[in-house]
Amino acid sequence: MSLIGFQTALGRTVRARTTAGAAYGDLDLTPDEQRSLQRVIESEGFRATMNIQRSWCEARAASGAQLTLSALPREQRRRLVKEWVDGGGGTNSFFAAEAKAFLEFIEPRLAVPSHALSLCRLEQAVLRAEAVAMGFAAPDPTALDDPAATLRRGRHAALVGLLAEPEALLAAVQNQCPLPALAACERFLLVAPGAHGLARLAEAPDIALWQSLGEPWTVARLLRRHDRDSIETLWREGAIEAA
């Protein structure tokens, strides 16, 4: 049996988590080779290998969405992870790439509104900020002295609304306590690569400035509505940047 034939058959079968042999029916294998493969695939050892693969995939997925999954009932959590892994997810051994893909998968499957959805958006925002946080250096604020300079929302920043006091919600999730009731108004967290711990409570001036920058604005135009200190704070944190 060719090496590529053996590996394709075995790899596909592990990924498909089947012992039926259907995963390699299109490969050019002799009847002897097919029987040889079938002996491997029908063994207890192959079942154990598939179970290891499944548990690793589930663990990889779950570790990337800990907050979101913790806010869900156990059965829904199990079903989402299973659906993701059944579809071939969980095989990427790099945390950020796996987490990003899994969070994108579960986001449209979460109730609107819900704490789980808010936390899913928060975890996605933290991943984006984290991706550049280590190399992030606060930019020089003198760039804001140019009134014609155009600013926009930071590409690695986000304003995430939570339907509860953030501290209370995060503590409930982390301690596996009952979640607070959904509040009528959102409390916002600003997530940015230069923010201490990547996220902080957003104050009213932060929120107003973020909302103004739905499209790029010049510094001169921003200063007509917002104070320089607020602009400079978000600029230093990477929450806003040059367009």
Partner: protein, 294 residues
């Protein structure tokens, strides 16, 4: 090349003292844990994490133990890993470089798909030649010894060629053809002996022990009727006995590393890990002394 002694993988979660107080003689770095994956599959080293690891490890000699190369994949091994390792070597030189003998990607429509778990190589001439050629190229690329680790696996009846024979024959053929070295994982030998019902000492006796450069010891656990290579516990007595048997027979061995998975480090604790390292040192010192007397 000088023998280093007792080594430990780098774990951020352990007290840094374990890397500084003489408990270990060298550190085994898995560079992928200091990386993130960028769009398109490139691996980017995170300089701050590399700097922190170097700070913790101080002046300890360093060896690399990779997990993402997939050296046995017939469709091609992970070029992004090697590109990353080029950059890693520039910033943090290492004495040797090891990887796992196996494959964890398959090619589909010009894409590389991860299997999600490492899978074993068949003991065939084609497999031996492919890996030997790649191993030789890697050894030239980095200018340091390249080692391959024998795998633990649970699959019976893998394809074999008469000229190769079995897993020991496959490793021997690769080391001979590619001038590579062997990272002899004794816990993996033990796993395969238990799960495939053969004698681990006979397996070791069939290996080219003059090509062994590093030895791994680790613990495991029973699951589904198999002894799993779980790296979740102390080294079993049977593996200590294998170490006692093997060390005097490996004239070029440079070190023994106690492996444990990072997720189990908090539960096992620094004290237990230091205890296993102390026991490894006792065996190392005794066996090395016996070897030098003979």
């Amino acid at each position: 090349m000088r023998a280093l002694g007792i080594g430990l993988p780098f774990f951020e979660g352990l007290p840094p003292a374990i890397y500084r107080d003489g408990t270990v003689d060298f550190v085994e770095i898995t560079p992928e844990v200091l990386c993130r994956e960028r769009r398109g599959g490139t691996l980017e080293l995170m300089p701050e994490r590399v700097a922190r690891a170097r700070d913790i490890c101080g002046q300890l000699p360093t060896v690399v133990h990779g997990v993402e190369l997939s050296i046995g994949s017939a469709h091609g091994c992970n070029a992004a890993y090697l590109d990353m390792l080029d950059r890693f070597q520039e910033s943090w030189p290492f004495l040797w470089h090891s990887e796992h003998l196996g494959f964890q990607t398959i090619g589909e429509d010009a894409h590389s798909l991860a299997t999600g778990v490492p899978l074993p190589m068949p003991a065939t001439l084609e497999a031996a030649e492919l890996v030997a050629e790649r191993g030789a190229a890697i050894q030239r690329r980095y200018g340091v010894p390249f080692l391959l680790e024998n795998a633990a696996h649970y699959l019976p009846s893998l394809p074999t060629d008469p000229d190769i024979g079995d897993e020991a024959g496959l490793m021997n053929a690769i080391c001979e053809r590619g001038r590579c070295w062997h990272l002899l994982d004794l816990h993996n030998v033990w796993c395969n002996a238990v799960n495939h019902h053969h004698d681990p000492y006979a397996a070791i006796d069939r290996m080219r022990l003059d090509r062994v450069r590093e030895i791994h010891i680790a613990g495991g656990s029973w699951q589904e009727g198999f002894w799993m290579d779980a790296h979740d516990s102390r080294v079993p007595d049977t593996v200590w006995q294998l170490l006692e048997y093997t060390l005097p027979r490996t004239p070029h061995v440079g070190g023994v590393v106690f492996e444990v998975l990072e997720e189990h480090v908090p539960r096992l604790g620094a004290e237990l890990i230091a205890g296993e390292l102390a026991r490894a040192r006792e065996v190392w010192d005794r066996c090395r002394a016996e070897t030098s007397c003979h």
